[in-house]
């Protein structure tokens, strides 16, 4: 590893550290939810290793608990994972020069937090050639802490009192990503419309409200930017 690659990797590990305070309870909640849905601890941990996505794991746990057919459960996991398409598209120009095995590894390790940190890091001035090492540091750190937290939750099971409201950490984690993402009026329009639509269509089955609200918000952002340019 070149000295610069090493320092980028370690900077990634360090930069993601403040986010981990949310990752630990979030992973714990995901582990508890899977076991609470009737999965064995081994199945809960396997789900986490395969999916490595808090929202997807929570949705799968909810639908397994409701004894949904496997195809419907996977359709719901796909729906909540559609945002990864958008993250993937946004990151891909920065990673296009890398060998395939690098792109596969960074794709597997991509998360909401890792994407937010990565786009911020790539927007900084200076030499960008080794910044994929920063992404790798962020991804490996989040992966390790996430899996350890899920294992703790899967093993501890339902012994955590509901009164602790640990599930609220999930909302707060995404809130801390949302606030810095609101840089322009058009960003704000996208967020306000997406939030309002999410409330209005919350009755839709299979978490479809997330996708409908996201698309409405993106449309509002594009329109707001066009109006601003005129």
């Amino acid at each position: 590893m070149l000295p610069n690659a090493r320092s980028e990797f370690l900077a990634g590990c360090r930069d993601i550290a403040p986010v981990l305070v949310g990752t630990v309870p979030f992973g714990f909640v995901a582990g508890v939810a899977a076991v609470g849905a009737g999965m064995t601890p081994i199945e809960a941990i396997a789900l986490s290793l395969f999916a490595f996505s808090g929202i997807a794991q929570l949705v799968v746990a909810q639908l397994v608990a409701a004894q949904s057919p496997a195809l419907l459960t996977l359709a719901a996991a796909l729906v909540v994972s559609l945002r990864f398409l958008m993250y993937s598209a946004a990151l891909s120009p920065h990673l296009a020069h890398l060998p395939r095995r690098w792109r596969i590894a960074l794709a597997y390790l991509m998360t909401d937090q890792g994407f937010a940190m990565g786009t911020h890091h790539y927007s900084q001035p200076g030499d960008r050639r080794l910044r994929h090492w920063h992404l790798l540091g962020v991804g490996v750190t989040l992966f390790t802490v996430w899996q350890a937290s899920v294992i703790a939750g899967a093993v501890a099971g339902a012994q955590v009192p509901a009164a602790w409201s640990l599930d609220f950490v999930v909302t707060l984690t995404f809130l801390t990503l949302l606030v810095p993402a609101l840089r322009t009026r058009a960003d704000l329009a996208a967020a306000v419309v997406a939030g309002a639509v999410a409330l209005a269509v919350s009755g839709l089955p299979y978490r479809l409200s997330l996708v409908v609200a996201s698309v409405a918000g993106i449309g509002a952002g594009v329109l707001a930017e066009r109006a601003h340019r005129r």
């Binding site: 395969f50 999916a51 995404f174 809130l175 967020a191 409330l199 997330l210 918000g217």
Partner: protein
């Protein structure tokens, strides 16, 4: 058996969406309109997750001060606007939520 189909299937679904453009597509061929739309993805998706978590904690809309998660969320936003450290916002939000829950029994 059914569980393992779901477990492996969820892995395939999440990996394919993540890998879509990074592994399989040429980003230089994206149309301009698509790139403009991409800029609004984080704000829209994150708001669609966060807003119901604050405003509909029990599955029904509650925009009154009786909703502790709404107040806790406002506190977390206030901290996030001043400090660029996610830890501070999460701690503030949980502290307000636990404080309100303790006060209201």
């Amino acid at each position: 058996m059914n569980e393992w189909v779901v477990i492996v299937g969820a892995g395939v679904v999440t990996f394919l969406t993540r890998a879509s453009f990074i592994v399989f597509a040429d980003p230089h061929k994206f149309p301009h309109a698509f790139r403009v739309a991409l800029a609004f993805v984080p704000a829209a998706v994150l708001a669609a997750i966060v807003v119901p978590g604050l405003a509909m904690p029990q599955g029904a809309l509650d925009l009154t001060p009786a909703n502790p998660r709404l107040l806790a969320g406002i506190a977390a936003v206030a901290v996030a606007l001043r400090v660029r450290n996610p830890l501070a916002s999460i701690v503030a939000g949980m502290a307000v939520l636990w404080g309100l829950q303790a006060l209201r029994g």
